[in-house]
């Protein structure tokens, strides 16, 4: 039986297009110091550091964890780098949690980041290969045909994605850390924004952000340093599958369904829509909200878009299961950190620490991340109550 573990501190930077005032190391340190402060701890209290980010080719700094050890107070301590593409923010948190749940460490600092302003993600994701044509048009170009297939199958109205884009930006306007601040955004504004990868418009896609997110995860007997209550980790799971195989279900990937089933079983959840109070789900392109509502069992297959259109996932419409009250990936996307922000925001919700985007009385929350060709998944459930 694993030891209990809880999040006792979260720290984030403000997300923006370019943080010219700090280096990569400075960016991470800012998030780490914020998390330690939130936990009521100093670097000297930390037993191990777990760090994650998206591919090294983005910023062109290879094995950045080596040079970041100083900035994270990791000298003389165990340090580990995690890499699972876009889902890395989530899987890094899970690896940090397992360091504590194994009983090996008492307090672990975990940090993820991306400095997209120093990076060329499109180039880094588009290396030419002789056995394929070189037509990579970024992540949006990859996911747009999968979204088109979802639209065909579900017969969803054309403006479901537009609704998600508006909803998450209205949420983001409640979160002072969010990159995009668009309190007056309208359906018409999103619909009229430039088409990038039909059927995806500019405002239906995530921004490119600089930013970092950190957490302190502690063992059961070390949760009292923080002034705020702990967020108990009730379950954590990862799954992956190949990018390409004949007959692969790309709209509703099996790895996502299996990962959700695992994490729900650990947390004793049978009906996620009814039992969870809030979810922070990785939605970098608008239509992934209805697609993941189905993949994660919040709605029957083909019905996810109805929840979105009914306002079930909206704070502003008093929905019963708010998704991404922080504004989500659609409002801030420092790629390597984006998954951890979902996990940290879930923890903030059950600690009653989410400010203007707090879901009243939230006790049980889900954090989710995906990456690669929607093939890597990581998820956790955190709760206000000790399991």
């Amino acid at each position: 039986m694993a030891q209990l573990a809880a999040v006792i501190g979260t720290g984030q930077t403000r997300y923006k297009t370019k943080r010219g005032d700090v280096s990569i190391a400075g960016l991470l340190r800012e998030a780490a110091v914020n998390a330690l402060e939130d936990a009521g701890l100093g670097f000297e209290d930390i037993d191990a550091v777990v760090i994650g980010k998206a591919p090294d080719m983005f910023e062109g700094v290879i094995m950045p964890e080596c040079y970041l050890a100083d900035a994270l107070g990791a000298n003389g301590k165990p340090m580990l780098r995690v890499h699972t593409a876009g889902s890395v923010g989530g899987s890094t948190a899970l690896v940090a949690a397992s360091h504590v749940q194994s009983g090996t460490f008492k307090r672990v600092l975990t940090v993820t980041y991306e400095k997209q302003s120093e990076s060329n993600a499109m180039w880094a994701l588009s290396t030419p290969q002789p056995f394929a044509v070189h037509l990579n048009a970024g992540a949006g170009g990859y996911f747009a045909p999968i979204i088109r297939e979802y639209m065909r199958r579900s017969k969803a109205p054309y403006d479901v994605g537009i609704k998600v884009a508006v909803k998450d930006r209205l949420h983001g306007a409640r979160n002072p850390l969010a990159h995009l601040q668009k309190p007056d955004i309208t359906m018409a504004e999103v619909e009229e924004s430039m088409m990038l990868w039909d059927p995806l418009r500019l405002l239906e896609a995530c921004p490119s952000s600089d930013g970092a997110c950190a957490m302190v995860i502690a063992a059961e007997d070390a949760v009292d340093s923080s002034a705020k209550p702990p967020a108990w980790i009730r379950g954590g799971a990862m799954r992956s599958e190949p990018t390409m195989y004949a007959g692969r279900e790309e709209v509703n990937p099996r790895a996502g369904r299996d990962c959700a089933a695992d994490v729900y079983a650990q947390a004793g959840i049978r009906d996620p829509r009814r039992e969870l109070d809030v979810a922070e789900i990785y939605v970098p392109f608008s239509w992934y909200e209805p697609m993941w509502l189905e993949n994660l069992g919040f709605a029957e297959e083909g019905q996810g878009w109805r929840l979105t259109m009914e306002g079930a996932t909206s704070l502003d419409e008093q929905g019963d299961i708010p998704w991404n009250p922080s504004g989500g990936v659609l409002s801030s996307n420092p790629i390597g950190a984006s998954g951890m922000i979902r996990f940290a925001e879930a923890a903030r919700q059950v600690r009653g620490d989410a400010g203007d985007h707090q879901v009243a009385g939230a006790k049980l929350a889900m954090g989710h991340a995906y990456g690669g060709g929607a093939q890597f998944f990581s998820m956790w459930i955190v709760g206000a109550d000790k399991p």
Partner: protein, 174 residues
Amino acid sequence: MSDAREPVTGIEAPVYLQYQFTAGRAPSRFLSALKQGRLTGQRCPGCSQVYIPPRGACPACGIATEEEVTLSNKATVQSFTIVYIPIPGNPIKPPYIVANLVPDGANISFIHLLSECVNEEVHIGQRVEAVWKPEAEWDYKMDNILYYKPLEEPDVPVEMIGKLGVDGLEGKQS
């Protein structure tokens, strides 16, 4: 210098990478066939699915693929996107269509350009055909196919996409 006191917040430091690609047995056969103007795949001995480009193993079954299959120049649109932004370093002018295409005889799609078409009329299940470069320009590259263009053939029902034999709708299911 008057700007000497301006803080340096960033400098351009380009990274260039050049790799030697070792094709391995399966891609090597695939690329050699491409040089002769043929599209080929490999069939998995476990699930019978035909892969293009063949990478030497079936990702679903985890076993080696050996049997080589010659595929058709005809293909079906599994899905697509109309791209409105340029590809870095590529002269193609937006908007252009990047389609997920399944060639007849294969069970998996690859992406390629769709051209000589009205963008608004492209649809899932549409039949298309490869347009090859002149023979003199053929190399060990998928770029030997310039693009695909629409065919005057009935659409493939959605449930049949990815399941056609090398003779298309007329032939047997693969």
